[in-house]
Amino acid sequence: MNRLRVLFMAAVAIAIMFGVSGVAVSADLQQKLVEESTIEQVAKRGLLRVGMSTFVPWAMTDKSGNLIGFEIDVATRLAQDMGVKVEFVPTKWAGVIPALLTGKFDVIIGGMGILPQRNLKVNFSIPYDHSGVAIVAHKQLAGGFSRLEDFNRSDVTVVARLGSTSAAAANKVLPKAQKRFFDDESQLIQEVLNGKAHALLAGAPLPAYQALKYPDRLFLPLPGTFTKEPIGFALRKGDVDTLNFFDSWIRVVEAEGWLAERKHYWFETNAWESLLK
């Protein structure tokens, strides 16, 4: 019995050694795979997987459960031009970069602002859009506030989306204010509407939309945006071919005027609202 036990344990030990070295070997192989570009893999697969999050009107769900929006149009056209199908992976915005880095999808096309801190982890294409952070405030709680500094007090609460450029802007521009970050836009809007926060920082045109929708409770303390940031595709590092492909594609559709036309449709008209409800 003792000898059997020893043989068994030896077998287990050898299995573990092979297992660990197998992982090491496949890790080498994996490095090679990572070196191979994303567009090659997409072309082989015949499918482009795009990570995004719900941001009205960049990406939203319509009545039939399909995704519509500016980013959806961009991604669909991109996949079309690559000759592949497109698939969207709705992800919580705060976790979208870790999800990209762990291979849950190929690219983030979701209105992601180019920030140096993000750039340390992911690569960005050239900008295909520009956005800015705007602010909408509660009429009673923040009545009379007309400058950013008015909000920079410790008794003021502002809300923004976790992991967004608006959150970064809030941290930077309003260091003294209480900041609360939520995952979803609807939660942020409810916070201000319910009088639990003084103001909401978000990418334009959301604040303006909300001020129009609830004129009795919300107002715009500052007109327009107080930051300006470029929006680009985010992709994994070390992938020159894919980066070049996206950059060139953006230049092409920009020269066509297609980007401007789509931007006008989604951001400056209301034609798509009936699709939602």
């Binding site: 499918l47 459960g65 999800a99 849950k104």
Partner: protein, 294 residues
């Protein structure tokens, strides 16, 4: 404990007064304080919608999320049972090392918040499942019929990796509880059984297979069913890693349509129906089974 027949007592009066006061307060506040435009009419279309192409009523986002929750719970409980049984047997083994290993797993898993575990495991496991990307490619090449079957049983090929990650994460979490259930079940078999079997010349494995387990399994099944119901509730946590189950779908819906109140009430109702329904079914089955054995 003296059991008494339910009658009208002073407590009834107090409870009734308290409930009426609470209801009045809520009604008052809803009328005065709430500035919400209710729009219940817009909600049913997100449960079921009429597809003009297929001429059928198909489930829309909320029901799709509901079915995903059911699938997640069933698969997670199945895998968790496998893990739990294996670990449970380790927990009662004679080797101290095996007992320590299993105990380490159980203590670590049961003492960490599920939300934190989910975040950690999802990003770790995700990469290990990179190999299933090839599985994905293979599955996408299959006929639509096979893909439809897969979508009903598990998830559509695109979501398969995420689904499997979520199932594995939930199984590891629930497995720790099932380990304890299995351990308690095995240890509840009285020592006399083990000694008698040993006296009859059964080896350890034979003892386990022929004597202990057949008696332990009926004691394990009721708490196991309770664990399935717990899994249904815990599945809501994987919405934090963007798995498209009911809670996540509901939150996405609210972001697009701002139907906050209606959606939350519907989601709560759906979970209640599912869990309460399962709990009642389990109770009925247990009663019937006990009558059969008695």
């Amino acid at each position: 404990m003296i059991h008494r027949k339910p009658t009208i007592t002073l407590i009834d009066v107090w409870v009734l007064l308290a409930l009426l006061a609470a209801a009045a307060f809520v009604a008052y506040r809803v009328r005065v304080g709430l500035n919400y435009h209710w729009n219940w009419g817009a909600l049913p279309q997100y449960l079921l919608r009429y597809d003009p192409q297929e001429r059928l009523w198909v489930p829309n986002v909320l029901l799709q999320g509901f079915f995903m929750t059911i699938r997640l719970s069933i698969w997670a409980t199945a895998c968790a049972t496998l893990i739990g049984v294996a670990m449970g047997l380790l927990r009662v083994s004679r080797s101290r090392f095996k007992r320590m290993a299993a105990a380490g797993y159980v203590e670590l898993t049961r003492n960490t918040p599920p939300l934190v575990l989910v975040f950690i495991f999802y990003f770790f496991i995700g990469d290990q499942l990179l190999s299933t990307v090839n599985l994905e490619a293979y599955l996408r090449g299959q006929s639509p019929a096979v893909q439809a079957l897969l979508a009903t049983l598990l998830a559509p090929p695109g979501r398969l990796t995420a689904f499997l990650s979520a199932v594995l994460t939930l199984s590891i979490f629930e497995g720790a509880y099932i380990t304890e259930i299995v351990r308690a079940g095995i240890q509840s078999i009285e020592k006399g059984q083990r000694e008698a079997a040993a006296a009859l010349g059964f080896t350890r494995w034979q003892r386990l297979w022929h004597v202990i387990l057949p008696q332990a399994v009926p004691r394990i099944l009721p708490p196991l069913a309770g664990q399935f119901i717990s899994t249904i509730k815990d599945s809501a946590i994987v919405s934090a890693i963007s798995i498209q189950e009911l809670t996540f779908r509901g939150m996405e819906l609210m972001s697009s349509t701002y139907l906050t109140f209606e959606t939350w009430i519907t989601i709560t109702g759906l979970y209640f129906v599912l869990t309460f329904g399962c709990a009642l079914t389990v109770e009925r089955l247990e009663l019937r089974w006990r009558r059969q054995r008695a």
